[in-house]
């Protein structure tokens, strides 16, 4: 039975119009002021690959994402972003280069979306609580971040271990 279950899941995933699901996501993000523009969408049958996406937040050019892989398995879903370059406006707050961002959502933790972001700014562990609508970020700031972007860090609270915390309600 498990074999049939896995087979059904894989087959459904294979035939699922993932590009259209992605369009649906874009339509859902639009009212939040988030628009993904100029991207190239490639349906890899079991996952979706997005290349060269430009992200606009509140009509402000925010970042360029070289590659994004979206994998939807139902029970466990991931979005992996690679080579993110921040635009000039957010680049005034944090270093522009972000190597990777991995978003994970699974039924083992249905109320939270977890993410790990690695970049020139350091490392950030992000949690989006879907029930309380709160985003929390724990940032291990790099030397570059501490030296050249200290003004941004002043808006975060620092614990005894030197980790910076940020909380935002959405």
């Amino acid at each position: 039975m498990i074999g049939y279950g896995v087979l059904t899941l894989v087959t459904v995933l294979y035939f699922l119009p993932k590009a259209n699901l992605y369009y649906k996501l874009e339509h859902e993000l639009q009212p939040q002021g988030i628009i993904i523009h100029n991207e190239h969408i490639d349906d890899k049958r079991l996952w979706l690959e997005i290349l060269d996406a430009e992200l606009y937040v509140q009509k402000i050019e925010s970042m360029h994402i070289h590659r994004a892989n979206i994998m939807l398995f139902g029970l466990y879903n991931t979005i992996d972003l690679e080579q993110i370059t921040l635009a000039s406006t957010p680049g005034q707050f944090v270093p522009k280069n972000i190597q990777s961002a991995q978003f994970r959502y699974g039924l083992y933790d249905p109320l939270n979306i977890n993410a790990t972001v690695l970049g020139d700014f350091g490392k950030a562990e992000i949690r989006l609580n879907l029930y309380d609508r709160i985003m929390t970020a724990n940032v291990e700031a790099s030397k570059l971040m501490k030296s050249k972007f200290s003004a941004t860090l002043k808006n975060l609270t620092r614990d005894k271990k030197g980790v910076y915390h940020y909380e935002y309600s959405f």
């Binding site: 087959t11 459904v12 035939f15 369009y23 874009e26 628009i35 993904i36 002043k154």
Partner: protein, 266 residues
């Protein structure tokens, strides 16, 4: 292959076909239900037309009454050419200028409105110049640029109801350093039913450029040059076009009343 094996194989094959058909039908249903086009960003060219505030007060209460109409912007007289305007202080109907001769720039004289220097009478003080009168002619003496910048750096006090004079050079230098702006002022968004209504000032660092602009902690900036701040993009648009703006008028909510703050950039 015996009959039992054939039945088993047919059964497996049937199940696989059923799974594929179900998956395909599900896929088609999704295809039918989901949008077949994404969302693209179309940039609207944002224009900031020159802003000209209309001040009723300036019409009914002129700062200085000037007799005669001829104002000569050229230095027609050798006497005026030998003078330099080193500084000025201007209020509604009063003020003074600091004059010196080019030959002795350190030997300065302070001149009030109506007072004379070397036969030239001071009749009006403008934001960066002074109008002097001799006989029937009037002359405009421009403030030295270096002295103008020095004056700006000293940050004259903000006078309610009067436009505050700002140095473009200083603003441009300041605008380049966003980290410094973040250190000097804290602003948070103000929303009403999910819609952005303005930006509230939560902190102004003392003795920084922001502390001289007449802004107070708790002010909510709701309009800039008569344009409501409805999004971050509106605010960013002004920040990015600051080098093209000659006048800025801020409408802030202070104690639930709208207050107008005006700035002239030279």
């Amino acid at each position: 292959m015996n009959i039992a094996s054939k039945v088993w194989a047919v059964s497996i094959l049937t199940r696989l076909i059923v799974i594929i058909i179900i998956a395909k039908v599900l896929g088609l249903l999704f295809l039918w239900a989901l949008p077949n086009e994404g969302v693209d960003f179309y940039e609207q060219k944002r224009m900031l037309p020159p802003y000209h505030p209309y001040t009723v007060g300036a019409i009914i209460e002129p700062a200085v009454i000037i007799k005669g109409s001829k104002v000569d912007v050229q230095y027609l007289d050798a006497g005026i050419n030998s003078m330099i305007l080193k500084g000025l202080y201007r209020k509604k109907e009063s003020g003074y200028i600091i004059l010196a001769m080019k030959a002795k720039p350190k030997a300065t004289e302070i001149l009030g409105i109506g007072e004379s220097y070397n036969g030239y009478k001071l009749v009006q003080i403008k934001p960066s110049s002074a109008i002097l009168e001799r006989g029937s002619l009037r002359y405009t003496l421009e403030l030295l640029i270096n002295d103008l910048q020095a004056l700006r750096k000293r940050h004259a006090p903000f006078i309610e109801g009067e436009p505050y004079q700002m140095s473009r050079t200083e603003i441009q230098e300041y605008a380049k350093n966003f980290g410094q702006i973040l250190e000097d002022i804290n602003i948070i968004e103000v929303k009403n039913r999910g819609k952005l209504k303005g930006f509230k000032i939560t902190r102004i660092r003392p003795n920084t450029p922001f502390s001289y602009l007449g802004l107070l902690k708790g002010d909510v900036i709701i309009k800039v040059n008569n344009e409501p701040l409805k999004s971050y993009a509106d605010a960013l648009n002004i920040y990015q076009n600051i080098h093209n703006i000659k006048e800025i008028e801020l409408i802030v909510l202070r104690d639930n009343k709208e207050k107008e703050l005006r700035y002239e950039i030279h």
